[in-house]
């Protein structure tokens, strides 16, 4: 086995060159180049993480905006409903007031008409009494040849008419 057979002649050279070349690998590649490679990876990872965070923030902002918009729309809808309800109430109130005033006018005219009717009736009744008394005195004079004075005839008619 040359590893053992040649050991005494070659160990110094093996150790020397192994140290030299591993030293080159460690100091040039390990210390010099690997950190740069890893920094690149890290920069990329942080950029990806940053982009993801920005996207997440944008999504949240959009959600918040949508929520605000919804709230505003709801408020505006409620406001419109209130305006409509108020208009409805106002209209109802106005109608009621006009109805009331119309009622008052109608009632006044009805009352006036009633009083006119009553007056007409009393005058008519009076005329009927006079005509009836006249007729009664003429009937009596023709049938009995008695002349009844107007006062007595009137009283008799009044008694007969009113029971």
């Amino acid at each position: 086995m040359p590893q053992i057979a040649q050991l005494s002649e070659t160990y110094a050279s093996q150790i020397f060159w192994a140290l030299i070349f591993f030293g080159i690998v460690f100091f040039v590649i390990g210390r010099g180049m690997v950190p740069k490679v890893m920094a690149t990876v890290e920069a990329r990872d942080s950029q990806i993480a940053g982009d993801l965070a920005a996207a997440e923030a944008a999504r949240k902002a959009a959600d918040a905006e949508e929520e605000a918009w919804r709230v505003q729309a709801n408020a505006q809808r409620a406001e419109a409903q209130a305006v409509i309800a108020k208009a409805k109430a106002d209209a109802a109130k106005a109608t009621e007031a006009r109805l009331a005033s119309a009622n008052v006018a109608i009632e006044a005219r009805t009352a006036e008409a009633d009083s006119r009717i009553a007056a007409a009736r009393t005058t008519a009744l009076g005329e009927i009494e006079a005509v009836a008394a006249d007729a009664a005195s003429q009937i009596v004079s023709r049938l009995a040849g008695v002349t009844v004075d107007a006062g007595a005839a009137g009283a008799a008619v009044k008694e007969a008419l009113n029971g």
């Binding site: 086995m1 093996q14 060159w17």
Partner: protein, 262 residues
């Protein structure tokens, strides 16, 4: 190469040879010849540099290559986050270097470059190399442990819920298991890589020898061996990844002991 014509020495692939006439290079009396092992370490480093450099475009939307590199760093990052927690972030450069160095070495050693006349050498099949990596990991665990917890780090050897009457035994067992860690780290990788390569070489020697001894043995022994080789090649690719992963995983588990103590 082979002692006898037609016979393959399965161990020859692990032999180390100085290249480019550098066998006399030395520092303070220690020979540091630039060997085929060092050459493949250099090739591993270059391949790894090219791979990671291709992922450095730093684009926001990654291309395929950048994606591949980022998935490797992300894999190591997750491994440490899962095993050590937030404190594990600072070990990413070390565990990444360890994992990718071993992974590239294992996979490069498996490349069928022999077809082009190049002899691929798997330096992770040498415990002198895996031992360096294991001792590095173990030293970091020790340094971090004593740095963060001081002498309190020794309470690692008394797990939670240890009965009082076992206090004389458990720390001893825990100490041995702790001290075995660098050896298990180094030997696991070295043995796994060596065994796979030896198995492939032995099977290929079966194919060659049986084919040389005639059509009958060639079909009875050679063809099943060849089919088995194909299957074991797939298995070896898997092992190359798994052993690199196990090395990184165990190192991060040990680091967790040092960081969080229990």
């Amino acid at each position: 190469m082979a002692a006898e014509q037609g016979r393959v020495d399965p161990m020859h692939q692990f032999s180390i040879e100085p290249l480019f006439g550098t066998d006399h290079w030395s520092i303070a009396g220690y020979n540091i010849a630039f060997t085929n092992s060092a050459l493949w370490m250099a090739i591993t480093v270059v391949a790894l540099l090219v791979f990671v450099w291709g992922g450095m475009k730093r684009e926001l939307v990654p291309g395929r290559w950048q994606m591949a590199v980022e998935s490797m760093t992300g894999f190591v990052d997750n491994l440490l986050a899962a095993n050590v927690g937030p404190a594990g972030k600072k070990y990413v450069p070390y565990i990444f270097s360890l994992f990718m160095f071993i992974l590239f070495a294992n996979v490069l050693g498996l490349l069928p470059l022999g077809l082009l006349g190049v002899h691929p050498f798997t330096f992770t099949s040498h415990f002198s190399v895996t031992g360096v990596l294991a001792i590095l990991s173990f030293s970091i665990v020790l340094i971090v442990g004593f740095w963060r917890h001081g002498l309190h780090f020794f309470s690692l050897f008394v797990p939670h819920g240890t009965p009082i009457w076992l206090l004389w035994l458990i720390p001893f067992i825990e100490l041995i298991s702790f001290l075995v860690r660098p050896f298990s780290l180094a030997l696991r990788l070295f043995v796994a890589m060596m065994a796979g390569h030896v198995l492939l070489e032995v099977l290929s020697s079966f194919v060659i020898s049986s084919a040389n001894s005639g059509p009958l043995w060639g079909s009875v022994v050679g063809i099943p061996s060849f089919i088995l080789m194909v299957a074991i090649c797939a298995l070896e690719v898997l092992v190359a990844g798994i052993q690199a992963y196990v090395f990184a995983l165990l190192t991060s588990l040990y680091l967790n002991d040092a960081e969080n103590l229990h």
